[in-house]
Structures are given as C-alpha cells and as structure tokens.
C-alpha cells in the first residue's frame, strides 16, 4: 500500500466518524504512479458516494502528504486479479481451461454422509460421475435448502475432474447464469456467452428455482440445455422443489428438467444427523462423543447447515475454554440456541402449526373424530412431537385428548412408513418440520 495513502488514512481516521471511515475510506485501494494516487472503489455506488462526500477531504490529505506533488484519481476497480470464481462472460473461453471449474474441493462423495433420506440421490450422483452423459441426463436433485444438494453436485464435479481433468466442468448458481447473460447482452457478447455455455462437458447448475419469472434467461437456458443434451454432455440441476411446482417457470422447461432422473433429498433422520456431526467433527480432528452427536441431532432437527453451525459453536467454545466436549458442556455451549428452539417448539406450537397447515381446528386433534382428514394430521402432529420435543409417548398421548401411549407409537410408525411410500405425506412432513424448526 502506498505510504502516502497510509498517512492519509491515519489522518482521515481521526477526522471521519468510525463507521463512515470503515465503509467509504478504508476499502479504497491505492495505487501510486505517474504523479497521481489512483484510489480504486469496489463499485459505482461507493465511487459516487466517496466523490460526493469525501473527495475534497481526501484530495487535501494527499496534497498535504505528497507536498502537492500527487493528484487524486478515483476509479472503480480492484488491485487483486480476477478470482477464479467470477465468470467474466466477455471472455469466458479464456477461463474455462485454466480455472479449476469453480468447484469446491471440500465436497466429495467420501465425506457425504449417507442415510435413508439421501441414499438414492447419492447413488444417482455417483452413477452420473462414472458415466457422464450416459447414466441419467439431466440429473435433477431436489429438496429443501441445506440438505446436501450442493454437496452432491460438487462431488460429481470433483469426481469427474479427478478422472478426466481435461473435461470442461462448470459449477454455477442459476443467478450467476442470469447475471452473465444480462452482462453479455449489455456488452454485445451474447455469442461468446452461448459458445461458452454450449461447449461445457459437465454443467452443474444450482437452485434452478431462481430462473422463475426470468423469461429471457429461461429461453437462453432452454437452448443451452437442449444443445448440451443433444451432444450427450452431462447436466446436473438442483432445485428446492419438484420443478413442476415452480411458479413462473415455463412448462417446456419444467418438462425438460424432469425428463432425466429427478431424485429427492429429504431431511436426514436422527441417526444420519448424528453421523453427519461425527463426520464433520472428525474432519477438523475433533472426536465428538456419540452421545453428544445424538444430543445435538435431537435439538437441531432439520437442516444440515444448522447442524454445522451448532457443531462449530461447540468446537469453538471447547477450543477456547480447553474443556472436554461432553453432553453437559454442549448444553452450556448451545444454551442460547437450544432455549430458543425449545421456546419455539412445544406441544401447543406443534398442534397449532399442524392444524393451520391442514386447515382444521386445534381441538380436532384432541377430539374423537376418526375421519382421515383429521386422523392423518393428528398422527403427523404426534410424530412431530416425538421428533421435536423430549416428551415421552404417554405425555404426547395425554396432550392429544388423553390417548394411550400405544396410539402415539402406532401414529409415529404409520407416518414413518407413509413418508417412504407417499410423496405427498413426505412433503407435508418436511414442510411442517421446516416451519417448526425456524
């Protein structure tokens, strides 16, 4: 960094309010050359603000510390070279060979924890990585956020890259595709954009639900999609729901997305959640006792990112205090998180949420009504209560109109069976679990 700019920073830091200094002045990157100091702002927004509010002050400082020899020049830019994760559509062909395809190497099949909820998706992904363009094309992995879809996608890319480093593999988020296309249109480089995307061997596009409502992008993606499929190049997509349910997505795309193999990922069961925790802990050389893993898995019932966040808290706290990770210690470390969840998830809350979801009265859940429109929600509420609270079977039975504990046990069994065989039940359960967990 320029020493003159260092001096300016010290001076300005004492003249400008702390938060303003950190927002507008500190991020400016200085390049000193040819009788001027060029200050680079990250974007137009910052540039305009600095010009409007601080230009005079900065210029005065620069003149002071350079004895009037240097002038100030403000531009948009960055001292660092363009990072591999940023696709510049103007010259996309240049980056595809040299960049490591935007894959996160940390996501592999080896460190993906398999359970009932995701084994089909994992098996299909593995198949795809071993038979590019032949096994399932496109492969569509769908399910709620934070269940491992992106992990599998990167794992496919990494596995292919390992076997065939010359393959052009590109991972990107669908929003990035849209942004690149908009930029290409603005810069009159739509042809190189098309050429780039249509020349990819393995295209991994995350969160295609973000295409909803973007007609021009859908159109372009439709053609890219067809070209790649015709050439037998592999396409892998992820989505937070089954594409047919996306509002604002053209029918032809819905149909194309589903024409290969659509596989769902469900929220992991308790055993899988515990296994994920133990594996994640092992990756950072922490031996997480099984009972602690189950304790966290019980308290964080839905999302893998939530699980990782909780585990981070426990490990960080243990490393700072030097204490052993026990269940007692974990309770303390996660006190805020757990008390918050316990506050939100209780029997009343579960009954209210389930009743609202199925549009029945809360009282129906405790009534003797045996119509299926009531019994199924009742069973689901019992099953959720068993999974999300620490109440015993008899306690849950009591809360549902004084039913016997065996009724609750049967309800849990029934729902768990139906989740396997009935897509709608699995989705309802997953939706309720998500609502109650956040």
């Amino acid at each position: 960094m320029s020493s003159i700019w260092d001096n300016c920073l010290t001076k300005l830091e004492n003249e400008i309010a702390g938060s303003d200094f950190s927002t507008w002045i500190r991020p400016l990157q200085a390049i000193e050359s040819d009788g001027q100091i060029k200050l680079l702002a990250p974007n137009r927004f910052v540039l305009d603000w600095v010009k409007q509010h601080y230009f005079a002050k900065i210029e005065e400082s620069i003149h002071e510390f350079s004895n009037g020899k240097l002038d100030l020049n403000l531009e948009i830019g960055s001292k660092k070279s363009t990072t591999p994760a940023v696709i510049t559509s103007v010259k996309p062909v240049e980056i595809k060979k040299t960049s490591p395809n935007f894959l996160n190497k940390a996501f592999t099949f080896d460190n993906f924890v398999e359970g009932k909820s995701n084994q089909l998706a994992r098996a299909a992904s593995l198949q795809v990585s071993e038979n590019i363009g032949k096994a399932y094309n496109p492969l569509l992995i769908y399910g709620s956020s934070g269940l491992g879809k992106t992990h599998l996608m990167h794992a496919i890319g990494n596995a292919v890259f390992q076997k065939k480093p010359s393959a052009t593999i590109v991972y990107l988020h669908s929003e990035k595709f849209v942004q690149d296309m908009v930029r290409a249109l603005q810069q009159n480089s739509i042809n190189s954009f098309k050429e780039y995307y249509r020349g990819i061997d393995v295209l991994l596009i995350d969160d295609i639900q973000f295409f909803a409502g973007k007609e021009r992008s859908q159109e372009e993606f439709f053609h890219t999609f067809n070209t790649l499929l015709d050439k037998k190049h592999q396409i892998v997509l992820t989505c937070d729901k089954y594409p047919k349910e996306i509002i604002g997505l053209e029918d032809r795309l819905k149909s194309r997305f589903g024409c290969g193999l659509p596989v769902s990922i469900e929220p992991p069961d308790m055993e899988t959640r515990a296994a994920i925790l133990m594996k994640k802990a092992a990756q950072v050389n922490v031996a997480l006792p099984q009972e602690v893993a189950f304790f966290i898995a019980k308290k964080i019932p839905f999302n893998v990112r939530d699980l990782e966040g909780a585990l981070r808290r426990v490990i960080a706290n243990a490393q700072f205090t030097g204490r052993e990770i026990t269940t007692e210690f974990t309770k303390e470390a996660l006190h805020d998180l757990i008390s918050l969840k316990d506050k939100l998830v209780n029997m009343d809350n579960i009954q209210k949420t389930v009743a609202e979801y199925f549009k029945i009265r809360v009282a129906d859940l405790s009534s003797k009504n045996r119509k299926q429109t009531v019994t199924r929600p009742r069973q689901m509420a019992m099953c959720l209560a068993r999974e999300l609270t620490s109440h015993s079977f008899p306690e849950i039975g009591d809360a549902f109109g004084g039913r016997d504990h065996t009724t609750v046990m049967n309800a849990c069994k029934k729902i768990n069976e139906l989740k396997e065989s009935d897509h709608k039940i699995a989705e309802d359960y997953s939706n309720l679990l998500r609502t109650l967990s956040h």
Binding site: N14, A17, R26, S78, K80, T83, V86, S145, Q179, R312
Partner: protein, 237 residues
C-alpha cells in the same frame, strides 16, 4: 435546569474502533474468535447478535481495522432500518478479504436485497473470504424469506454478545475513560448510569464531552463537577 433521564446525544463518537479500545468484559471469547478469523486461523463466517449498545458495531469496525494492519482488504456497512441502499453496493465486494455487515436483519423481507445478498454470499464464500455479520437477534429469528439465504446465515459460528450488568457498564466506563486519559470514579459512573442513556455508544459520546469539559476547566471529574457540566445544555461538536 434539571436534566431528565435518557438524554439524546446527537453526534457520533469519533475514535479508532479497535480491539484494544474495546472493553472486553465477558466477551473475551468473542474477541478471540474474531481475531482468529481475521488472521485466517478461525471461522470464515461469524454471526454476532445481541441487543443494541453492546459494541457489535465497534467489534465489526475493529475487525476492519485489524484487517488493514494486516494489509487485507475490508469493507464495513451498517444497514439502517429506515432505508436500504441500492443493492449495487454489493457489487465487487466478493473480492474483499473481510466484509462486515452490521444490522443484517434489516434486509429481511426485501426480496431484491435478499437475493443480491445471497449471490454476494456465495461468491464471497467461494473465494474463502471472511464474512462477519451482526444483528439484534439470532439468525433463526430474522424473517428472511429466501430459505437458501436463511440456512446460510446459520452456517457459520453464531455468537451471542451477552447483556451487560450495571456493574459491567461502570467498569466499561472506567476502562474507556482511562483509555481517553482521564479518571472517572465508580461513584461518578453510577451517577451517569442513573441519569443518562445506558447504551454504551451513548455513554462513549458523553465521555468525550466530559473529557473536553474537564480539560477546559482543568478539573478532575468529581461528582459535583459532573453535575455542573451536565446542568449545561448538551451541544453538538
């Protein structure tokens, strides 16, 4: 004229917001995690939450200050409840080593901002850069509509800044006054707490004013002198 409690103070405390001038109190662990993150030996995502006036903004700015001393690029922005800036603000920020967003809860419900922040988040994370966020509540309680963003806010290390007791606030006042080069007695500290806004940032502004008055009068901050200063109208610098 008699002062009422909770007097508003209208100018921002101007001083370096560094880790050294932060009263650590019971936040030693939080400071440790933040410093490790900045030096690349800790978590790449930290979410700080706690009520207003406990020093979240100070800590975020201290991160940027430390980043600067390590020749790392940093960006800090405090989101305001009244008006969100143009999301174009986020453009190019993914290239910064350290990015801090204060009051991130204010983007909740604004779909354009949520999506823009989600995109920034992914790009920034893909480059192994460090993101530090703060809010008045934990990530789960922020009404973010975009599920993909919501789960990502929970992903990193979430740390709660515990509320300060009055005794802690008095110790903090003494610590801060000492850093500014003057003394304040516990008695005077208690007086300030019972008569003024107990929010730490307001108290720091008040300390600046007291310091100036004490210097001008060349007197120590005794309780009678404190009363005398505070009888005068507060004035903006």
């Amino acid at each position: 004229m008699t002062r009422t409690k909770q007097q508003p103070l209208h100018f921002e405390f101007r001083a370096n917001q560094t880790f050294d001038d932060f009263f650590p109190g019971s936040n030693v662990e939080i400071i440790d995690h933040l410093q490790k993150s900045i030096t690349g030996n800790g978590e790449s995502q930290i979410f700080l939450w706690g009520q207003a006036g406990l020093g979240k903004s100070h800590l975020l700015q201290a991160c940027c200050h430390q980043a600067q001393s390590l020749q790392l690029s940093s960006f800090y922005f405090a989101l305001s409840p009244s008006e969100l800036p143009d999301p174009a603000l986020l453009k190019g920020l993914d290239k910064f080593d350290i990015v801090c967003f204060d009051n991130i809860e204010h983007i909740a419900g604004d779909s354009v901002w949520e999506t823009a922040f989600f995109n920034f988040f992914n790009l920034h994370r893909d480059q192994d850069h460090t993101l530090i966020l703060s809010a008045a509540c934990p990530p789960n309680e922020i009404a973010i509509r975009l599920p993909d963003l919501k789960t990502r806010l929970n992903w990193g290390l979430t740390l709660k800044i515990p509320p300060l007791s009055d005794d802690d606030r008095i110790t903090a006042l003494i610590f801060k006054a000492d850093q500014m080069g003057f003394e304040i007695s516990p008695k005077a500290g208690r007086f300030l707490l019972t008569h003024y806004d107990r929010n730490l940032s307001s108290l720091w502004v008040l300390l600046t004013r007291l310091d100036k008055a004490s210097l001008a009068a060349k007197r120590k901050l005794t309780l009678p002198f404190l009363r005398q200063i505070l009888r005068e109208e507060p004035h903006d610098d």
